[in-house]
């Protein structure tokens, strides 16, 4: 019987090797790094329509970079659905109060869902209770359907209108062909042409009448000339001329009187000038008198009988002081 010696020691070595292999494996897998990495919790309010394919463990991207994972999705009928995500602290700077999240799928229309957090520019987030809103990315199929609906809504009315316009055009053409309406009559009926010819004939008659009126006017002018030169109206015209002569004679007399009066005008002006020539001097004298009166009052105020101190009034300065010279 083979008996192993130092069995306990060998078993201990084996256990130690197993522990060392385990620790090495853990370190190699990076689990410890994950455990010690500082993270923050972000609540993402999910849309009313559903999670859009989001599941626990789904990634969270900020600026296209993996920045966290969804740890929990809370579905409670009493409140709105939300997901709790752990976010790397280095991504916190880009998530602000005005940031929003979009739930996308990995390959556009298929694949696992993930959250793309858009960069915010507003106030800093309060990371003690960080909440942002999430929307579901619109499916490409929905976009195409919506586009087709829009096009259908706009195109079909146009086609209907075009049909009605063509019908109306055809009706109009038929009406014209039948010689109905203004244009049809113009094309098929010669009445209008006849009416135009009749109008031209009437216009010619009218012009002949105007020529007769001009002839009569000439005769009237000739009569007026005759009246002025003599004939029946001779007395009245001559009376008019006589009155005009009288008026002119009166006017001549008036202007002669005016001329006589104008001869006195220089003398009058001279008198006025002489009267006003002394006005400046008079004003000066008045001003000086007023000033002297003021000085007299000053002197009176200085009299001891009237409560003054008897001092002589100040002598006015003859020359203006230097302070009055102003640049």
């Amino acid at each position: 019987m083979i008996r192993l010696r130092n069995t306990d020691e060998w078993v201990g070595v084996l256990v130690l090797l197993a522990i060392a292999a385990f620790v090495g494996g853990v370190l190699q897998a990076g689990l410890l790094r994950d455990w010690f990495r500082p993270v923050s919790t972000l609540r993402i309010l999910l849309p009313e329509a559903g999670t859009g394919g989001l599941a626990v463990g789904a990634g969270v991207e900020v600026l296209g970079t993996h920045a966290g994972v969804i740890k929990r999705i809370v579905i409670d009928p009493r409140q709105r659905m939300y997901a709790e995500a752990e976010i790397d602290d280095q991504a916190r700077a880009f998530i602000r109060r005005d940031s929003t999240a979009v739930i996308r799928r990995e390959f556009g229309v298929a694949g696992a869902g993930y959250i793309d957090v858009l960069r915010g520019h507003g106030a800093d987030m309060d990371w003690k209770y960080a909440v942002i809103e999430a929307n579901t990315e619109r499916a490409p199929g929905d976009t195409v359907s919506s586009l087709i609906d829009d096009v259908r809504q706009k195109i079909f009315p146009i086609l209907d209108d075009a049909g009605r316009a063509m019908h109306a055009l055809a009706d109009t053409a038929e009406t014209i062909n039948r010689g109905e309406g203004n244009v049809g009559k113009l094309l098929h009926d010669d009445t209008l042409e006849k009416q135009a010819e009749a109008t031209v004939a009437q216009l010619q008659q009218l012009l002949a009448g105007v020529a007769g009126i001009i002839t009569q006017a000439n005769a009237t002018v000739t009569d007026v000339h005759g009246l002025i030169r003599g004939g029946d109206g001779k007395d009245s015209v001559q009376a008019l001329l006589r009155r005009t002569d009288e008026t002119l004679a009166s006017l001549q007399t008036a202007s002669r009187s005016l001329a006589q009066a104008a001869q006195h005008a220089p003398a009058i002006a001279g008198n006025v000038e002489g009267s006003t020539a002394n006005l400046p001097a008079l004003l000066t004298q008045a001003q000086v008198s007023a000033q002297e009166l003021e000085m007299l009052l000053t002197q009176l105020r200085g009299l001891w009988l009237l409560g003054g101190n008897g001092a002589a009034p100040p002598v006015p300065q003859q020359r203006l002081p230097a302070s009055q010279v102003r640049p």
Binding site: T284, Q287, Q291, R319, L320, Q324, V325, R326
Partner: protein, 288 residues
Amino acid sequence: MRLLALIMVAALAGCSAPPPPPVAAPVDQMMLNEARAGGLAFALDRPAEAVTHYRAALARARLRDDLPSITDAGTNLAVAELRANQPEQALADARATRGELARRGAADVPVLDLVEATALYRTGQTAAADQMASLVQRAGDPQAAARASFLRGLIADAHGDAAGLAAARQALDPQVDSEQAADATELESRQQLRLRNFAAARTYAEQAASLRRDLPDYRGLARDLALAAQAAQGQGDTQAASDLYLRAGRSAAVQGNNADARIWLQHAQSGDPAVAEQARQILAALAP
């Protein structure tokens, strides 16, 4: 009885008239009247009328060949012409009076030289004005010297001469009287403006304007308002600058200082639309 007599004598002595004043030398009454009327018109801020009266007084003084009266009337005439915005005429009259003084061997009159320096400055001959003002500074009339220092400060500022401006400011003592206080404050403002301390420059300019309003010196007031506007513009406060320029231009327009009024009113048009419209109206009403 004796006591009563003593009291009556004392009362009569108290009633006695003061000794009669010494008899004044005979003068030309017309000349005196014209000179007094000129002074009155000048005091009532009617410089054009003052010019007329002072010119008549000068004519009477020349008629009398009275040198002291010619000096007084000639100086007053030039000062009134400066006030009436006729600097060219003021320069000609001041030079004529100074020439007469020189021909007759009389001493220079600092105020007359100051008038000539100011007229030179206002006609744009700043180098000659500065030279003349430096003569006035050394002439021994403290009031004329102070105003000459202020004038030299203005000229230095116009030439960008910071040292000259500082020297002029140092020559003025704001404690002496309100005139010097206003002049010193204006030069202080110009110094601050040159150093680009716009807030301080504006404060000093507004203080100077207030002092000039109390003097009154309305020409200086308008200039200080324009200075404050310049400082406000430096601060970037275009609304305030526009308003201050409008106020400066309006005051200058009323004084008949059309040249400065035009410049300031044109500056006023670059701000508030209401202010710009008002400035346009005043500009349109200005005589060509």
